[in-house]
């Protein structure tokens, strides 16, 4: 296959993105094996992977499709709880942890994708901020519904109740998986950093391949100019839905990964704040910039831990850092300086710089 100039550039750029993730994995392994990894940071490794997947998938909706979604944590929640139920439901049948994890991730993705379809069909027909409002409501509804659901496994299979634990009627032998507002208890910690990195790589593979294809171009065409896209025969609804469902499904997988890292999972964890947090990752990393999302998600998940020294002022410092990063990364003069520095570095000699338009 002969590559075009754009094709080559793209290949290099994608390789850097994949390479960055693999390198980060290797570095962490080295640091860990030499015993320099703090336990608090080790505990953050799987959540970091989950948040990276969340940020990259939300970037597909916000950056590539150009629609604002404020309920991404809702899809994460769906994936988390369906993943937990699957992993515990399969405990007696499938012994191998990785297989149960895989099943949990897949089911989490499918369930979240299905809900993405259900939410997307009516919401994506509307223009403007409607999707933001509908997804915001969706996230809250999911949180409140999961808060009232009781799920248990009895001798005859899965039982669901909306009232209380007793009405599950499990008797002595059954185990309760989901206890309404108490959340899921006794979850097996099946997730590992390695599995997280693999999920990140799969997510990147899906999103990057989608973006640089016929479907991806159609999605971006809808974003850039709806009327022009229609005028060249592109179905607006179809490609909006494609992007939204893939985004939701990946968030579902991220949720399953996240949940299976803890012994207890509550629906409150996946609230509006989490949706906004992921949106902050996307905006800070650059809208439409996949590599930026990865870096922003990783750094901002670790940052609060790094700021422990500030004690009570921890979140204040976090906010100040956020604002400073925003200001500097969007400052034209600093951007120019950076370009000049890169150009000088590449050429080796300080030359007269041609102004970029």
């Amino acid at each position: 296959m002969k590559l075009t100039k754009t094709g080559q550039k793209r290949l290099v750029s994608n390789s850097i993105t994949y390479g960055m993730v693999v390198l980060a994995f290797i570095l962490v392994q080295i640091v860990d094996s030499t015993g320099h990894l703090t336990s608090s940071l080790r505990g953050q490794l799987v959540p970091i992977c989950a948040y990276i997947v969340m940020a990259v998938s939300l970037n597909l909706t916000v950056g590539v499709l150009g629609e604002l979604s404020l309920g991404h944590a809702g899809f994460m929640s769906l994936g988390a709880f369906s993943g937990v139920i699957v992993s515990l439901g399969l405990r007696d049948m499938v012994g191998a942890g990785p297989l149960r994890l895989l099943a949990a991730l897949l089911v989490g993705a499918v369930i979240a994708g299905l809900f993405g379809f259900v939410v997307g069909v009516p919401a994506l027909r509307l223009r403007g901020d409607y999707l933001a409002i509908v997804t915001l409501a969706f996230g809250e509804i999911i949180k409140n519904v999961i808060n009232t659901i009781y799920v248990g496994i009895g001798p005859d299979g899965l039982r669901v109740s909306m009232s209380d634990q007793a009405s599950l009627g499990l008797g002595e032998t059954g185990t309760v998986i989901l206890r309404g507002p108490m959340g899921a208890v006794g979850v097996d910690k099946l997730a590992s950093f390695g599995a997280g990195i693999i999920l990140v790589l799969i997510t990147l593979f899906i999103v990057l391949n989608l973006v640089h294809s016929r479907s991806g171009r159609a999605i971006m065409a809808v974003r850039d100019n709806r009327i022009a896209a229609e005028s060249v025969g592109i179905s607006i609804t179809r490609y909006k839905l494609t992007a939204f469902i893939i985004s939701a499904a990946l968030a579902g997988a991220a949720g399953a990964l996240y949940a299976l890292n803890y012994s207890t999972v509550v629906a409150r964890k996946f609230d509006f704040n989490t949706s906004i947090l992921v949106l902050v990752f996307v905006v800070l990393g650059g809208i439409g910039n996949i590599r930026g999302s990865i870096i922003a998600a990783a750094v901002l998940t670790v940052l609060p831990e790094m700021l422990r020294a500030f004690n009570d002022y921890r979140m204040l410092a976090y906010a100040i850092i956020l604002i400073l990063v925003m200001l500097t990364s969007n400052n034209d003069r600093l951007k120019q300086l950076r370009w000049r520095f890169i150009a000088r570095f590449r050429r080796g000699t300080p030359q007269q710089e041609v102004d970029h338009e």
Partner: protein
């Protein structure tokens, strides 16, 4: 709306002018109209365009020319009248379906996919020519490589009509104005239309660019054997290349005919220059 359109009879042969229209004309519009809140933006619009005809739609500003294009491409759904494309009724079709049925267009205020490359803009035009599923794209199956290679070759070939191959990697939004207009035409051609609608293709072009554009419009017609309908204010272009011209004023056709007939028509002169006051 469907019923309304069906109630209108197929245009009688009597209004077909003395031109070679082929066996069936590519476009037959009869009694087309739309009102916005009681205002008739376009009223009783009738036109017939032959298979390889270059037709002009002219008129003063605000006459409703672009509205006609928006009606033909169903950006607005007409309130009255019928549009037959290649003899088939287009009632109830969406903008997307109209394109698939064979009408492509450019826009008065350029609507490119600004952030994407020139090549990607053309490839988006080729969306329905080289198809493969999203799954094919994600898994990078052989179908993907095959279709992408064909789309790439075809995109460059289409760009070569205007000698724009060397710009393929540039960002569409960074192109000079004239090149953006040409790119829009290329993108429209990529959808393989049988009727191409050009909304002020020469707007903002200098005389030599306009000259080249005129030659290119004829070249495109001859190459692709398609009909072209254009809205234009540059009379040199309109009179130079159009075979049939319709003049629109206040949403109504006030004159139809060959360039010579239009130039001599008192109603047209009045519409453009205003009524002569009695002394």
């Amino acid at each position: 709306m469907n019923n309304l359109a069906k109630m209108v009879p197929v245009p009688s042969r009597a209004i077909i002018p003395e031109r070679d229209l082929g066996s069936t004309p590519i476009l037959e519009v009869s009694h087309l109209g739309i009102s916005f809140g009681g205002l008739n933006a376009v009223e009783d619009f009738n036109i017939i365009v032959g298979r390889t005809e270059i037709a002009g739609l002219i008129g003063p500003n605000g006459a409703g020319k672009t509205t006609v294009f928006n009606l033909l491409t169903k950006v607005y759904q007409p309130t009255r009248g019928a549009i037959l494309l290649d003899g088939k009724d287009t009632a109830g079709m969406s903008t997307m379906q109209i394109n698939q049925a064979g009408i492509a267009r450019t826009f008065q205020n350029i609507r490119l996919f600004q952030a994407l490359s020139v090549e990607d803009n053309v490839k988006i035009g080729l969306h329905n020519q080289f198809k493969y599923s999203t799954l094919n794209a994600i898994l990078r199956l052989p179908r993907f490589w095959d279709a992408e290679r064909k789309a790439h070759d075809q995109a460059l070939e289409l760009l070569s009509i205007f000698n724009m191959e060397h710009m393929a990697n540039d960002t569409a939004g960074s192109l000079p104005y004239g090149a953006q207009r040409r790119l829009e035409i290329v993108r429209a051609l990529a959808t393989r239309p049988s009727l191409l609608l050009l909304d002020e293709p020469a707007a903002g072009m200098n005389p030599s660019e306009t000259e080249a554009l005129m030659a290119n419009i004829i070249k495109i017609r001859d190459m692709f054997q398609i009909a072209i309908m254009l809205i234009e204010h540059d009379m040199r272009l309109v009179m130079g290349i159009c075979e049939g011209i319709a003049v629109l004023n206040y949403g109504k056709i006030i004159a139809k005919g060959t360039p010579e007939e239009i130039q001599a028509n008192p109603a047209v002169i009045e519409a453009y220059l205003g009524q002569k006051k009695e002394a």
